[in-house]
Amino acid sequence: MANRVQCELCPNGCVLDEGQHSRCRTRMNKDGKLYSLVYGKPCAVHIDPIEKKPFFHFLPGTIAFSIATAGCVLSCKFCQNWQISQAKPEDTDTYDLPPDKVVTQAIANKCRSVTYTYTEPTVFYEYMYDTAVIARKHGIKNTMHSCGYINEKPLRKLSKYMDAADIDLKAFTEDFYSRICSGSLKPVLNSLVVLKEEGVWLELTTLVIPTLNDNMKNIKDMCIWIQKNLGSDTPIHFSRFFPHYKLSNLPPTPLETLIDARKSAMDSGLRFVYIGNIRHEGENTFCPKCKKLLVERLGYVVKQNNISNGKCKYCSTAIAGVWS
């Protein structure tokens, strides 16, 4: 068939005949050229606390102008935003918000950053990239919450303008990625290493799902890999799962499982391990040296911040992150 193209943005590598759409639903072969269908057309636009992403070591207490378009490169059975991530662009109501307007709106609303989030920002790569370039020029930071399922070349190009990334490390087995997400683990691990190499501030999130990825040995192996490849200062968030989408048959994650995962991660040498989607002291940041409370949080609210110039107020230990 003539006019066939291959998308080289993510590991799915969709090969498309004329008129066909990519698996992520946001790219289309038209007349032998590949086009994005979602450029400047977000279906979700919100102003959120940066803690919601979650970023705990990146400008705490600030707000982020957050955008998403329809589509995703994966098909996770537990997706929290499946109504838009698994939708076609034409099936969502969209805003007309080109990149320059995103930045204008972010500035007008006193946001310190623009966050590409909710669905999978890789699917609106061109929109995200152009917005990030303009935002950088205006002193607005760029952050993304992504599954990390993206090829190395586009990721390195994007990294030049990305200040921080929260990557979902959904599990540490190929089996989970294959059966539950219709993807694979290896490209995600590669993305984490690339982001680290490019100097992008990195935080990780793992949604702990009963019976599917709550095996403590796997969690331990994952944390050891993180410690070796990304460093002890990489924050990780263990989030509580609630029955949702195609996994509504499973129970919510017990608090004990999250506490065990946190302990396992800290025993593996990770210094900043958090528990999310539940009220617990694991939401707070403690100084790894003097153990005193540095950032106290209640949900998305920062109640106190004892980090001054990137250092612990009590013992002057440098705390990894972007604090101002």
Partner: protein
């Protein structure tokens, strides 16, 4: 402050009869004004009209 005996006030009945011709015309005119001046906003249903050439792809033929 002087108190008002509510019970002693005459009851006002509201219905079609209570609307005077002037009220009716005013309501009608306002309605027509809002209908004509309102701008209908429709969700975009044809994303192909907003195409942007993608980055990172290749022809394979």
């Amino acid at each position: 402050m002087a108190s008002v005996n509510i019970a002693a006030l005459p009851l006002q009945e509201y219905g079609a009869d209570s609307m005077k011709r002037r009220d009716f015309l005013r309501t009608l005119l306002l309605g027509v004004f809002f209908i004509l001046s309102g701008k209908k906003v429709r969700a975009e249903k044809k994303p192909e009209n907003n195409l942007k050439e993608a980055m990172f792809w290749r022809k394979i033929d």
